[in-house]
Structures are given as C-alpha cells and as structure tokens.
C-alpha cells in the first residue's frame, strides 16, 4: 500500500528498495500474508467499534439499552462465544497459510541457504542434492515466477529473515533449520532486513533480493560460474595487497588463495548492489571508505579499520575487488 507514507520513502533514497515497504506484496506468498494482515486490521477495527458502541451505551444510552447490555447473556455471547468462534477460524486460516510458506523444498524449487551472522548474511546456492553450488553474501539472485526455498540458519544468535514484498518473516535460530518460501512476480530489487534484534548493528543488517527474467537469470548464473579473469594493472597490485594484508584470513575469493570463512565471501563483491550488508551503495568511493574505516560506518562489526594502508593501496584493493564480479 504505497499510500501509507510511514512505510515508503521517495525514490530518491540512497538504495533502491530500502527501507522495504510492507503491505506492498510482489509475489504470491507475500500476497497471502498481506491479505491476512488486512483481515486482522479490519477485525481489530470492528472489535474496537463494538467496544466503543458498548461504552457509549453504558455511559449515555437509554435505560432500556443499558439493561440489555448488563447481565450474563452478553458476557456469554460477546465475551466468550464470539471470540472463540472468530479466533478459532483465524487460527485455522493462519496456520494453513503459514504451512504453504514453510513446505519443505520441492524438486522444482530453487534452493538457497542463508545463514545469519552478526551482522550480515551468508548466502549459499544449493544444487538439487543440497550441496553448495555457489557462495555469496548479502544478496540473493532469483528468477521471476519460480518458487525459491530459503533454508535459514544462524551461526551465532537469533536473527530473522524478512523480505516484506516477497514472503513472510521467520527467525533464524542457532542449531535449527527453518524453511521459508518466496517468489517474485516481476523483475526488480527487493530489500530485506533482519527483523530480530541481534546486537549493536542490528539495524544495519540488510540485504537485497534481485529478481531476474528467467533468461537473464540463466545468463547471470552461467557468467558467475565461469572463473573470473586475471586482474591486470592497478587491480593486479590490489590483488597482491589483498593477499599481503591478510584479507584472505577472513574473506574467500573463489580461485585464489583467499579462503577465509569468518567474513562475507567476496568472489562476486564487484557486482553487488550494496556494501556492508545492504547499507551503502557499491562504488569505488564507498569501497575505499569501508576498507579504510568500517567501524565509522557500522560500529562493532568484526572488520578492523585498514587506515594504516596508504590511500593508493586502498584504491588498488578497491579496484581489484571491483573486478570480482
């Protein structure tokens, strides 16, 4: 519902699709959640109207109306029978609805595993057998019109996975694997956000879901599966600096010696729309700013500041990372 101003912002916002609008579904799973929401709002409104009417009768109604409001009959009907019937119906409807959101992966589904980390998202595209086909972070690419099963885990504390325009919201609980299905009906960028308070930078734990046309999606994934070209010039110097500065202890870049798993996978960081888990646009300037002083941008995150490196080195590393697409 784009007319709700508190849920939307102008298109001039820094990052497209962020903050994510709620009650503005872009797929079947989010649609059913939105319908349920409006039913709940409407019923809450009806109950409020009923209570206010009864209050008015009690305070200012005629003697005849007030006597009808008193007594045990009203309590039995409006206080017990009505809520039991209404809430039971809602419970059945709500449970059957959430069941469709949480069906285990079907053979035709695309499978993605997302692991909540403080404060970013580890993304693994899974093959049919459940093996990891490709690793990434903070961005999920999906084809339009296909159901995507997202398997949700956490490596530290409870997070919550929420892409309001594509599906419901479900917690990522350590030691558990929750399942959520989502689908986009049109190409676009759909923002997501951690929806369970998880520490200092919780509000800065966002991500993007990018929905492609099926052909575009196939091309995109095929291009990513090919080995990245050898960096040249400034980027080659950046690659050397990346290695010498020890970045690979925490970050993995496919096809190189960098194989750290503590931080986000950087194999495709150059093609990401955002940096710092959905919080900054991705360009050379923000990349330099992030590498040089990430603590000023996302206090408490686990990456230390590299402001000990000269500007030329920061620039070279950023140039190298841009080539990892």
């Amino acid at each position: 519902m784009t007319w709700l101003p508190i849920f939307t912002r102008s298109t001039e916002q820094a990052l497209s699709g962020w903050p994510p609008p709620v009650l503005d579904p872009a797929g079947p799973f989010a649609s059913s959640i939105t319908t349920l929401s409006w039913i709940l709002f409407a019923m809450a409104g009806a109950v409020l109207a009923l209570v206010l009417a009864a209050l008015w009768v009690a305070l200012a109604g005629s003697q005849r109306l007030r006597s009808r409001l008193g007594g045990t009959r009203v309590v039995w009907l409006a206080g017990i029978a009505l809520p039991v019937v209404v809430l039971t119906a809602l419970l059945i409807y709500g449970l059957s609805l959430t069941r469709t959101l949480r069906t285990p992966p079907q053979p035709s589904d695309i499978r993605v595993r997302v692991t909540g980390e403080m404060w970013w998202w580890r993304v693994a595209y899974l093959d049919r057998a459940g093996g990891v086909a490709m690793m990434d972070a903070n961005e999920i690419h999906i084809p339009v019109g296909r159901t995507v099963t997202v398997e949700l885990e956490s490596s530290d504390i409870i997070h919550s996975f929420w892409v309001p325009r594509l599906s419901g919201k479900i917690d990522m609980v350590p030691g558990r694997r929750n399942v959520l299905r989502m689908q986009a009906d049109a190409p676009g960028v759909y923002a997501g956000q951690c929806a369970e308070y998880c520490g200092g930078a919780h509000a800065l734990m966002g991500f993007m879901v990018v929905a492609h046309d099926p052909d575009d999606y196939a091309r995109f994934m095929a291009a990513r599966a090919r080995p990245a070209p050898q960096p040249g010039g400034q980027a080659a110097r950046g690659a050397q600096l990346f290695q010498d500065s020890g970045c690979g202890a925490c970050h993995r870049i496919a096809g190189t010696e960098a194989n750290g798993l503590a931080g986000p996978d950087l194999s495709h960081v150059g093609s990401r729309r955002t940096l710092g888990a959905g919080i900054l646009p991705n360009n050379r300037g923000t990349m330099i700013g992030w590498i040089g002083d990430p603590q000023s941008l996302k206090p408490g995150n686990r990456m230390p500041a590299y402001s000990t490196l000269p500007g030329q080195d920061l620039t070279a590393i950023a140039a190298y990372l841009e080539t990892r697409r």
């Binding site: 001039e12 916002q13 820094a14 919080i279 900054l280 646009p281 360009n283 050379r284 300037g285 923000t286 330099i288 700013g289 992030w290 040089g292 002083d293 000023s296 941008l297 402001s307 500007g311 030329q312 920061l314 620039t315 950023a318």
Partner: protein, 118 residues
C-alpha cells in the same frame, strides 16, 4: 579619535564578501543532496545534515563553503569543485578520493549542495 576608529570598523564591517565565489547558476541544491546520498559520499565524509553514515576516512565537510582549498591543493571555486567531485584524481594526483559516478550536471548539483555547508 575613538569615534573615528569605531566608524572605520563599522564601515569595514559593511563591505560585502567577494561575490560569485560559490555561484552555481542552474544547479539544484536539493538534487545535489539526493545525489550525495545516492552515491554514498558520507561513507568517507562527515556531512552536516546527513545523519548517517558519518565516515571518518576523509575530511569532515562541516563549513566546507568557507574552506580555502580543495584537498589542500586546488582553489575552492565552483568550476574546480564540480570537476573535483566528479574526478578527483584528475585534479589532485595521489588523492584517495576516487572518481565518482556522476555526470557533469550532477557534479554541479553536488558542488552547489556542498556550498550550502557554511
């Protein structure tokens, strides 16, 4: 004597500042501000009026309009600033600030916005 000094001081105070130093005809300050947010300038600079982020890698831009030089090397003039925000290394070799994804018109808007930081 004392009245004379007061008069001189008062008249001196009346002299207007050199005009046109920060003139950007046709540039749009609001659009410039939106561009600053879209490109993420604040990832490296503290910019008054932009609540978040407040990056500390680059210089604080508070009172930027009063600053004499850009990056300590280039006079702080509208044409220079518009060129600098678009392609800083072309003007100041060795600067850490990279070329930013802005076209010429957008760079003028950004410069006009930066001159509101008085």
């Amino acid at each position: 004597m004392r009245i004379g000094i007061t008069l001189i001081l008062l008249l001196g105070g009346c002299k207007p500042p050199p005009e046109g130093r920060a003139a950007m005809p046709g540039a749009d300050v609001q659009r410039g501000r939106a561009l600053v947010q879209r490109t993420g300038c604040a990832a490296c600079h503290v910019i008054p009026g932009i609540r978040w982020p407040q990056g500390r890698l680059g210089p604080d831009l508070t009172h930027f309009a009063r600053q004499g030089m850009i990056a300590g090397r280039v006079p702080n003039r509208p044409d220079m600033l518009a060129a600098f925000v678009r392609n800083a290394p072309a003007l100041v070799s060795g600067t850490t600030m990279p070329a930013m994804p802005l076209n010429e018109g957008e760079a003028r808007d950004v410069a006009a916005y930066l001159y509101t930081l008085d």
